[in-house]
C-alpha cells in the first residue's frame, strides 16, 4: 500500500494505492475504486475503472479512460490530461497553486518571463497601483505580442522590465505587492 497526498482543484485529497497482480485498488478519501492499468508509454496510461452501481442491482460499469501525465515546466506540477481536459495536480505537497491563485493570497507576486523574448512595452511604473488581470508588460515571442498580467491587486514594488530588452525564460520582470 502506498499513500499519496494529491492537490487538485484547490483541495488536498488522500489517495492510497494497493496492488494485486495487475489490478489496483485506489482509495480516494474514503471511497475505493478498482482499476486495471495498462501503461501505454512513459506518459500515457489506459485505465479501466470499476464503478459500483449505487443500488448494487447490476454488475459494475467498467469505465475506460485514457490519461496523459507530464510535468509542467512552468509550475513543477503534473498536468494530467483526462481526455481533452488538462488538470493541474501536485503530488505529495509539491507547492501546487492554481494558476489564477499563483502568488495570490498575501505574498507578493513575482512576475517572470514565461518564455525567452523581447520586452516591447512596459505598461506600468514603479509604485503604480494595479488591479488583478491588469496587463503589466508585453513580451514578443513566437511572432506574437503577449501580455503578462497582474495576478492580484497591489502596487508595483519592483520593476525590472525595460522596453527593447531581450529576456530569458524565468527572468524576473515585475513584483506586485
Amino acid at each position: 500500500m502506498q499513500h499519496f497526498e494529491i492537490e487538485v482543484g484547490g483541495r488536498t485529497r488522500r489517495v492510497a494505492v494497493a496492488r494485486t497482480g495487475d489490478k489496483f485498488a485506489v482509495t480516494l478519501d474514503d471511497r475505493t475504486v478498482h482499476a486495471d492499468v495498462a501503461r501505454i508509454d512513459a506518459h500515457t496510461l489506459s485505465l479501466v475503472v470499476d464503478t459500483e452501481c449505487p443500488t448494487g442491482a447490476t454488475d459494475p460499469v467498467r469505465a475506460a479512460f485514457e490519461v496523459t501525465i507530464a510535468p509542467d515546466a512552468a509550475t513543477g506540477q503534473l498536468i494530467v490530461g483526462v481526455g481533452p481536459t488538462p488538470v493541474a495536480v501536485a503530488v505529495n505537497g509539491r507547492r501546487a497553486r492554481r494558476r489564477d491563485e499563483a502568488s495570490g493570497g498575501n505574498g507578493p507576486q513575482r512576475l517572470s518571463a514565461p518564455m525567452p523574448g523581447k520586452i516591447v512595452r512596459v505598461l506600468v511604473k514603479s509604485g503604480d497601483p494595479v488591479r488583478a488581470r491588469q496587463p503589466l508588460v508585453v513580451v514578443e515571442a513566437m511572432k506574437m505580442e503577449n501580455e503578462l498580467r497582474a495576478g492580484r491587486d497591489g502596487l508595483v514594488a519592483e520593476l525590472h522590465a525595460r522596453e527593447g530588452e531581450s529576456v530569458d525564460a524565468g527572468a524576473l520582470l515585475v513584483v506586485v505587492q
Binding site: G9, R13, L45, F65, A73, P86, V89, M142, L148
Partner: protein, 503 residues
C-alpha cells in the same frame, strides 16, 4: 520539373513534400539549427542546413535558399506561406537563378502586396472596396490634413499599414481626438514590422464577416474561383477557425462574390494560387479587403469539399499545364468542412505561447478527419516561429455533422508536454452562437473578454478525481528517478522490463 526545393518549415513544408511524392517529384527540405529533427527534414528526399534558428538568419535568407537550390540541383521552389512567400524579391531571385517559382509573378506579388495598389486594382475591376483613402497618407501631411481626410471617410475608422498583414500596423480610431496618436503608432509599428511606415485610412465596418475566395489561375488565361471560406472567427485579427461553405452566403451572393474575385485576378494577370479576402456587411454587401498571393493556411478545407488538390495544381500550373478543372466543381461544395488551428498556447493563461517538448502525441484520425501537422512526440516546439503545431480539419455531410465530428476529433486528440488550444476549441464548438453561425469578426474577441480569464474547460468533479487517481497510479508505477544524466542503457532495459511486467 523534377526536383522542388521547399523554402519553408513545419506543417506546410510537410504538406508540399507529400504533394511532391504523390507526383513523383523529388523534394528538398531546408532547415535552421533548431529544426534539424523536424518532420519536414525527416520526410524530404534531401535536406540542406541554411543557418541559425532566428528566421532572419535562415528561412528569410534569399541568398542561402537560392544557394541550397543550386547545390541540390532543384529546378523549382515552393515558398509555402509566411516567411518569403509574398516577397517579390525572392520570387525574382528564383527566376533570376533559372528556377521556376511556384506562385505568381514578382510583379503580381508587388502589386497586390501594397494594400492601396490592390484596392486600386479591385476598383478598376469594378469591385467595391471599403471606403478609404486612395493613396497612402503623405509622410509630410499635417495633422489638420489627415483629420480632414478622416472626416470625409467617417468614424470609426482604421489606420492600416500599406504593407500590412497579421493585424500589425493597424489601429482603430473611434474618437477623432485619438487620430494623430493612432497614425503615429501605426506608422512606427509598420516601419518596424515591414520596413515601410506608409499608412492609409479605411472606414471600419460594423460587425462584418470575413469571407474569402480561393482562386487558381493558369498561364493560358483560365481563372477558376472556388466556393468561399468563412474566416470570421479571429483572435486579434488572426484566424482561428475556418469553414466552408459559409452559413451566411446565399447561392446568389456566392455567384456574385466569386465572379468579383475572378475579375480582380484577371485584371492583374494573376497566375497560380491566390486568395481574395472580402468583408461582408450585415446587409450582405461585400467589399474587397486584400489579396494573399500565395497558398493559404486554411486551404485544406477547400480541398475537402471540392476533392481538388490545390498544392498539386500549383505545381501543375507552374510547369505550364492547362487548368482544366470544371468551374462548377470548384464552386459546388460537397458537404461541409471546418478547420481548427491547434497552437502551442495556453488558452487558460491569456493564450501565452507554451513552447517545450511534446512528450506524447496522438492526433485525431478516422472518418472525415485530416490532420496537417509538423509535430511529433520527441520534438520541441521552438520559440523562434509561429507556434501552430497542427491544422485539424473535419469534413462531414453537413455543418452540424461536421461540428459533431470536430468535437469527436478534439476529444481524441492527445498531446502531453505542452499546453494547446484544444480545450479552447472544445469550448468554442459547444457555444450556441457558434452552432447557429451567429458570429462576425468581432465575435471571438468579445467572448474572450467576457470570459475574463476563466478556464475554458472547468474540470468536472469526476474529472478531478480521475486526475488524482491517475497521478497516484503514475507515481506508484514510475521507476525510481534515474541518475541526472539519463542513466545507462542497462537502466533503460530494466525500466522497459518493469513496464512489460505490468501487463
Amino acid at each position: 520539373m523534377k526536383k522542388i526545393l521547399i523554402a519553408n518549415r513545419g506543417e506546410i513544408a510537410v504538406r508540399i513534400i507529400r504533394a511532391c511524392r504523390e507526383m513523383d517529384l523529388s523534394s528538398v527540405a531546408v532547415y535552421s539549427e533548431c529544426d534539424r529533427s523536424a518532420l519536414h527534414v525527416r520526410l524530404a528526399d534531401e535536406a540542406y542546413a541554411i543557418g541559425p534558428s532566428a528566421p532572419r538568419e535562415s528561412y528569410l535568407r534569399i541568398d542561402r535558399l537560392v544557394d541550397a537550390a543550386r547545390r541540390s540541383g532543384a529546378d523549382a521552389v515552393h515558398p509555402g506561406y509566411g516567411f518569403l512567400a509574398e516577397n517579390e524579391d525572392f520570387a525574382a531571385a528564383c527566376v533570376g537563378a533559372g528556377l521556376t517559382f511556384i506562385g505568381p509573378t514578382a510583379r503580381a506579388i508587388e502589386t497586390m502586396g501594397s494594400k492601396t495598389a490592390a484596392r486600386g486594382a479591385a476598383k478598376r475591376a469594378g469591385v467595391p472596396v471599403v471606403p478609404g483613402t486612395e493613396d497612402p497618407l503623405g509622410a509630410d501631411a499635417t495633422s489638420e490634413e489627415i483629420a480632414a481626410t478622416a472626416q470625409s471617410i467617417g468614424y470609426p475608422l482604421l489606420v492600416k499599414a500599406v504593407a500590412g498583414g497579421g493585424g500589425k500596423g493597424m489601429r482603430t480610431v473611434v474618437d477623432p481626438s485619438d487620430l494623430a496618436s493612432a497614425v503615429g503608432a501605426a506608422r512606427s509599428e509598420a516601419a518596424t514590422a515591414f520596413g515601410d511606415p506608409a499608412v492609409y485610412l479605411e472606414r471600419e465596418l460594423p460587425r462584418p464577416r470575413h469571407i474569402e475566395v480561393q482562386l487558381l489561375a493558369d498561364h493560358h488565361g483560365a481563372v477558376v474561383p472556388f466556393v468561399e471560406r468563412e474566416c470570421s472567427i479571429q483572435r486579434r485579427h488572426q484566424k482561428v477557425v475556418e469553414e466552408t461553405p459559409s452559413i451566411a452566403v446565399t447561392p446568389a451572393l456566392r455567384a456574385e462574390i466569386t465572379s468579383a474575385a475572378a475579375a480582380v485576378a484577371k485584371g492583374v494577370g494573376y497566375t497560380n494560387a491566390g486568395t481574395i479576402e472580402f468583408l461582408v456587411d450585415e446587409n450582405g454587401r461585400f467589399y474587397f479587403l486584400e489579396m494573399n498571393t500565395r497558398l493559404q493556411v486554411e486551404h485544406p478545407i477547400t480541398e475537402m469539399v471540392t476533392g481538388l488538390d490545390l498544392v498539386q495544381w500549383q505545381i501543375r500550373i507552374a510547369r505550364g499545364e492547362r487548368l482544366d478543372v470544371d468551374p462548377a466543381r470548384a464552386l459546388t461544395p460537397t458537404g461541409h468542412a471546418i478547420e481548427c488551428r491547434v497552437y502551442a498556447e495556453d488558452p487558460d493563461n491569456n493564450f501565452l505561447p507554451s513552447p517545450g517538448r511534446i512528450v506524447a502525441l496522438r492526433p485525431a484520425a478516422g472518418p472525415g478527419i485530416r490532420d496537417d501537422s509538423g509535430a511529433t512526440a520527441g520534438l520541441d516546439v521552438p520559440i523562434f516561429y509561429d507556434p501552430m503545431i497542427s491544422k485539424l480539419a473535419a469534413w462531414a455531410e453537413d455543418r452540424p455533422r461536421a461540428i459533431a465530428r470536430m468535437r469527436r476529433a478534439l476529444a481524441e486528440y492527445l498531446v502531453a508536454g505542452i499546453r494547446t488550444t484544444v480545450p479552447f476549441f472544445t469550448w468554442l464548438l459547444s457555444q450556441p452562437d457558434f452552432s447557429a453561425g451567429r458570429f462576425d469578426t468581432t465575435y471571438l474577441d468579445g467572448v474572450l473578454k467576457a470570459q475574463n480569464g476563466r478556464p475554458f474547460v472547468e474540470p468536472a468533479a469526476g474529472v478531478e478525481e480521475m486526475a488524482a487517481i491517475a497521478a497516484a497510479l503514475h507515481t506508484a508505477l514510475s521507476p525510481a528517478r534515474p541518475p541526472a544524466n539519463g542513466g545507462s542503457t542497462g537502466g533503460r532495459w530494466k525500466t522497459e522490463a518493469r513496464l512489460e511486467g505490468l501487463r
